[in-house]
C-alpha cells in the first residue's frame, strides 16, 4: 500500500497496483461486510405475501445463475490474464463471486427453499443460461478481450443497475444483502471498463469483433433483467432505465448502441 493517504497524489502505476491488490480488497470489504453474516446485520424478516415470496425466489434463482457464471468465468480467466495485477484482481473477484453465490443461496433457504439447485434448474431464465454458455466459451478459448467484455462490462454493469434498484425496493434483509453485493460490483465493472479501454487504445481493430459480441449478447442480459423486474412486481412506469449505465459504459468505450 502507498505511503500517501491522498489517493489523487498517486502515480498511475502505483494507483493501479494499489487497487488491484488483495491488501486493498481486504481493507475495503472489511468496511461494509464486517459484522454482517451472510451480508445482513441480523435484521428482522418482514412479512411477504406468497406472490412476493415466489417472485423473490425466481429473482434470486436468476441472480444465482449470473453469479455462478461470473464465478466460473473469473476463476478461469486467471489462467490467461495478461499480467500479475490482473491475476491478483481476478482472484479477489473470484472470492467476491463465491460470497455472492453463498449469500444468495442462504437467502433462498431463509425464504423456505429446501433445494435451491432444483429451484434454479426449474426457474432459471433461458436467455441468461445462453449468455452463461457463451461467456464460458470465450473463457475456454482463452479470449481475454471477449471474456472481460462479456463478464465485466455486460454482465457486471447490468447486475450493478438491477441490484441497486432492487435494493431500493426489497424487504430489509434482501436489501442489505444486495447493498453489499453492489459495493463489490463497482470494482468488477470498473476493472472491466478500464482494462478494455486501455486495450482498445492499443488495438483499435479489436473494436469490430467486440461490437459483434455486444450485438449477440447484450440483449440476452437486458431481456433477462427486464423480466426480473416484472417478477418483482415493479410496474412498467416505475422500472429503472435498465440499460442506462451499461449503454453509457459502452459509449465511453466507443461502441454505438
Amino acid at each position: 500500500m502507498p505511503e500517501t493517504d491522498d489517493p489523487h497524489e498517486l502515480g498511475e502505476a502505483e494507483f493501479r497496483n494499489t487497487v488491484h491488490s488483495f491488501e486493498f480488497w481486504f481493507e475495503a470489504v472489511q468496511g461494509y461486510l464486517h459484522g454482517r453474516p451472510y451480508g445482513s446485520p441480523g435484521l428482522r424478516e418482514s412479512e411477504l405475501t406468497e406472490r412476493q415470496r415466489q417472485g423473490l425466489i425466481t429473482t434470486l434463482c436468476n441472480y444465482c445463475v449470473g453469479e455462478t457464471a461470473a464465478l466460473d468465468a473469473s476463476s478461469g480467466m486467471i489462467g490467461f490474464a495478461p499480467d500479475r495485477g490482473a491475476k491478483i484482481f481476478l482472484a479477489t473477484q473470484v472470492v467476491d463471486e463465491g460470497r455472492h453465490l453463498e449469500v444468495l443461496l442462504h437467502r433462498m433457504k431463509q425464504l423456505g427453499v429446501a433445494d435451491p439447485d432444483a429451484e434454479i434448474e426449474q426457474r432459471a431464465n433461458r436467455s441468461l443460461l445462453k449468455f452463461k454458455e457463451r461467456l464460458l466459451e470465450f473463457v475456454d478459448a482463452r479470449d481475454w478481450e471477449a471474456s472481460v467484455f462479456a463478464q465485466n462490462v455486460i454482465l457486471e454493469c447490468l447486475e450493478y443497475t438491477v441490484f441497486r434498484h432492487h435494493a431500493g425496493t426489497a424487504d430489509p434483509v434482501t436489501a442489505e444483502m444486495l447493498r453489499g453485493i453492489v459495493s463489490d460490483e463497482r470494482r468488477h465493472m470498473g476493472f472491466g471498463e478500464n482494462d478494455l479501454g486501455r486495450r482498445l487504445l492499443m488495438a483499435p481493430h479489436t473494436h469490430d469483433r467486440l461490437n459483434q459480441i455486444k450485438r449477440e449478447l447484450d440483449s440476452l442480459v437486458i431481456n433477462t433483467f427486464a423480466e426480473t423486474l416484472g417478477e418483482l412486481g415493479v410496474e412498467r412506469d416505475d422500472r429503472p432505465d435498465l440499460a442506462g449505465d451499461y449503454l453509457a459504459a459502452v459509449a465511453r468505450l466507443g461502441f454505438r448502441s
Binding site: 489523487h8 493501479r16 465493472m189 470498473g190
Partner: protein
C-alpha cells in the same frame, strides 16, 4: 507564457483548500475513505472540491478546489479521471 489576465477568473485566483472529514463511505480502505462519499440523489450538489464518477456514481473529493485539467482517481471502481469543462460545468471523464 500566458498572461494571467487572459485566464478565466477561476484560474487566476488561488485554489481554495478543504479539510476533509469522514462521510460514512466505507468501500475503500479506512485511510482513503474521506476522499469519497455517496451521491445523495437528485437534490445533492457537488462542492468545488468534488466530482461525480461517471462509472460508479460515487462522489470523489479533493483537499483542493478542482479545476479543468485536474486528474483524480475513483478508488471504488478503479477509474482514472480528468476534469473537463463542458457548457460551464466541470465534468469528470474517464481516461484509460
Amino acid at each position: 507564457m500566458t498572461d494571467p489576465l487572459e485566464l478565466p477568473a477561476s484560474a487566476r485566483r488561488p485554489r481554495q483548500t478543504f479539510e476533509l472529514e469522514e462521510t460514512g463511505f466505507n468501500e475503500v480502505p479506512k485511510r482513503f475513505r474521506r476522499f469519497y462519499r455517496r451521491w445523495r440523489g437528485a437534490g445533492d450538489k457537488l462542492g468545488p472540491n468534488e466530482a461525480l464518477c461517471p462509472v460508479c456514481k460515487v462522489v470523489i473529493r479533493s483537499t483542493k478546489e478542482l479545476r479543468a485539467g485536474d486528474r483524480v482517481y475513483c478508488m471504488p471502481c478503479m477509474s482514472r479521471l480528468e476534469l473537463v469543462e463542458e457548457e460551464g460545468m466541470l465534468i469528470a471523464k474517464v481516461i484509460y
